[in-house]
């Protein structure tokens, strides 16, 4: 039976929200409400469940929201995506289970966030996982809810282009790095994935499903939160739409886990955000926080396409290994993920073999803007990707590395001449005009001390100026991680769970 008032209301059943719902409902005396904007299909459909359907799912799934975004280079449009289904991003992503690096977390701590250094977060990272490859390692976990395994191990038989790619990368000076989840990875790395026996281990599967039977855990799906009703420094009610009707719930504590796009939107619609922006839209300012929607960062991806020389027909779309490349040798860890991509084929044309480079950091900061007070309207994204000259230089360096790697006699059985961009093109400009995204938007409710005017939450993830409101998702990251962001987001959920249990 649903209580009149909950101890905790969690808004968003994504990578962090499912984690928090499961952890906080471990105490049967705590009444927990989880609101998810998307559906909670039971059983989970094959399009989400089967790892082999991942790429197809990205192309077909009804559970993906696409945000049109304008490139700074030539004004063309590309798309950011987010998952709108129980599990959030973890139900639609490529399932890479990659940790934040030591340098990422130590930087967060150095920005005035005590408790977030790598060494302090390592117990959380271990607690999340059951690492099937390194159960006895002092840096890995062996009994956590999230199953992690590397489907390809260095030394395993690889398809010929992959084997040649690895060998050539090593000849160019990259070391072998058998575990991408070491503190500062660099080199030819095998990627861990949260896939068990071919089944996606989303946070729905790993965290929420084992907790579903608890009478103190209440789950409402297809519940779109439209605003928080705020009095003074407290959230009194969470207002949401369900089946076309406006409903509300009251809770002692409210945790916003709606992701880097939705969390700032809900805050701003509730009167928490940049005062001028809110006033422009006629929103009553409850708590002026200049940083809401600011500090946006993502990973830019550029591709180079070469003529394919072999009849290589892989059964994968998502590559099983990646190069962690440093555009500057002095960096503590790789700042690019470089990956082979499967060939594109059109009858009558040579096969096209792309290689992509994802810049896993961003120097410039973008922002999200409310377009209107309609909670169904998508935010406008100004992502500032590849605006900073050093980011562009880094991309050009990575592109040159790819070119030199592929255009070598040892690779000519697989890769022919470059098709696109042309070898004489301006690669920096080309990257600005055609880049895509690795889909790792973060940072829009930045964690930081009250002395930082752009900080939205403090190091306990509580919203500055609010007594009972927390944010726990990818939006709180002060800087984007040098890694795919799902595992970090789960870690943030684990941390918030501990903080609320202790509070």
């Amino acid at each position: 039976m649903r209580p009149q008032r909950f101890d905790v209301i969690i808004i968003g059943g994504g990578s962090a929200g499912c984690t928090i719902a499961a952890r906080l409902s471990e105490d049967p005396g705590r009444q927990v409400l989880l609101l998810e904007a998307g559906p909670d299909p039971q059983p989970i459909p094959d399009s989400i469940k089967l790892a082999s359907r991942e790429a197809r799912s990205l192309m077909e799934s009804p559970h993906i929201v696409m945000y049109p975004t304008v490139r700074k280079g030539d004004g063309s449009t590309f798309y950011k995506v987010s998952g709108r289904v129980m599990g959030g991003g973890s139900s639609v992503n490529a399932m890479a289970a990659i940790r934040p690096t030591r340098s990422d977390l130590d930087r967060w701590a150095s920005l005035g966030n005590p408790g977030w250094s790598f060494d302090e977060c390592l117990p959380l990272l271990k607690r999340i996982e059951t690492d099937a490859d390194y159960p006895d390692s002092p840096i890995h976990g062996s009994d956590g809810p999230l199953y992690v395994k590397r489907p390809f191990i260095l030394g395993d038989p690889a398809d010929e282009p992959a084997a040649a790619f690895i060998e050539r990368a090593m000849a160019m000076g990259l070391p072998l790095c058998a575990d991408l989840n070491v503190p500062d990875p660099f080199g030819v790395c095998t990627a861990p994935y949260n896939i068990k026996d071919g089944i996606r281990q989303s946070t729905t599967v790993a965290y929420l499903d084992p907790a579903r039977g608890r009478p103190n855990l209440h789950i409402v799906d297809e519940a779109i939160v439209t605003s928080l009703k705020i009095t003074g420094d407290r959230v009194e009610q969470v207002v949401y739409e369900k089946d076309g009707q406006s409903q509300s719930a009251s809770g002692e504590r409210v945790v916003l886990c709606a992701g880097a796009y939705q969390s700032p939107q809900i805050l701003m619609l509730s009167g928490i955000g940049p005062a001028a922006e809110l006033k422009r839209l006629g929103i009553d300012v409850k708590n002026a926080l200049a940083g809401v929607g600011e500090n946006y960062q993502d990973h830019a991806t550029v591709s180079m396409t070469f003529e394919g020389r072999s009849d290589f027909r892989p059964d994968w779309v998502i590559p099983r290994f990646r190069l962690m490349f440093k555009s500057d040798p002095s960096f503590p860890c790789g700042n690019f993920h470089i990956t082979q991509r499967p060939p594109t084929r059109v009858e009558g044309l040579a096969a096209m073999m792309p290689v992509s480079a994802s810049l896993v950091e961003q120097r410039a900061r973008g922002r999200l803007r409310l377009v209107s007070t309609d909670p169904h309207e998508l935010l406008e994204i100004d992502d500032a990707m590849l605006v900073d000259p050093d980011d562009r230089k880094a991309v050009a360096t990575a592109m040159q590395f790819i070119y030199d790697l592929v255009q070598h006699p040892s690779m000519e059985g697989f890769y022919g001449p470059i098709i696109y961009p042309g070898s004489d093109d301006d690669w920096e400009q080309h990257a600005r005009n055609t880049h895509g995204t690795y889909h790792h938007g973060v940072g829009t409710c930045m964690m930081g001390p009250a002395s930082d005017p752009m900080a939205v939450v403090d190091s306990t993830l509580r919203v500055h100026g609010m007594e009972n409101l927390w944010v726990a998702d990818a939006s709180i990251m002060p800087t984007v991680t040098h890694a795919n962001t799902n595992l970090t987001t789960i870690m943030i959920g684990e941390r918030l769970s501990d903080l609320l249990k202790e509070a």
Partner: protein
């Protein structure tokens, strides 16, 4: 996405124009096109099959000539849908033919392509690379069909 360029052809504009208007001949110059069906003198349907890794799909399109100024200029509109993502594509194309001399024609093309839906997630770089190869192959086939081979001296 914008595609533009010039293709020099060793042929008279009238010969190039004739090929562009002959739906079967024109389609034969575009790699991957199959199932060509003439709807009327200015419209035809067709499909292009493509694969990315293990995912294969088919792109069904209708091309319609909307302006014609023989043998100098033509504008066409193309609508299409892909079989995997049901994304839509529209293209506005303009081609002009300029006579540069005896058996010397310059074909100038300008196309703006708009993709709506998941297909856009594949990424402009992959789509642009594909378009670049298609244009290269189109150029080869067009020349093969219409160019006048000089008699051996």
């Amino acid at each position: 996405m914008l595609f533009e360029g010039k293709i020099p052809v060793h042929a008279e504009p009238s010969a190039v124009w004739k090929l562009l208007l002959d739906i079967n001949e024109f389609a034969d110059c575009v790699p991957g096109v199959s199932n060509v069906v003439k709807i009327d003198d200015s419209t035809f349907d067709g499909t292009i099959a493509a694969s990315v890794g293990p995912i294969s799909g088919e792109f069904a399109f209708r091309a319609h000539i909307i302006e014609s100024d023989p043998p100098r200029a033509m504008a066409a509109h193309v609508d299409g849908t892909d079989s995997v993502t049901k994304s839509s594509m529209t293209a506005e194309m303009a081609m002009t033919l300029a006579r540069l001399g005896a058996n010397e024609t310059e074909l100038t093309y300008h196309a703006t392509v708009d993709i709506r839906g998941r297909l856009a997630l594949i990424g402009d770089m992959v789509l642009m690379a594909t378009a670049k190869l298609i244009i290269q192959e189109f150029t080869k086939r067009l020349r093969r069909k219409v160019e006048v081979v000089p008699a051996p001296g």
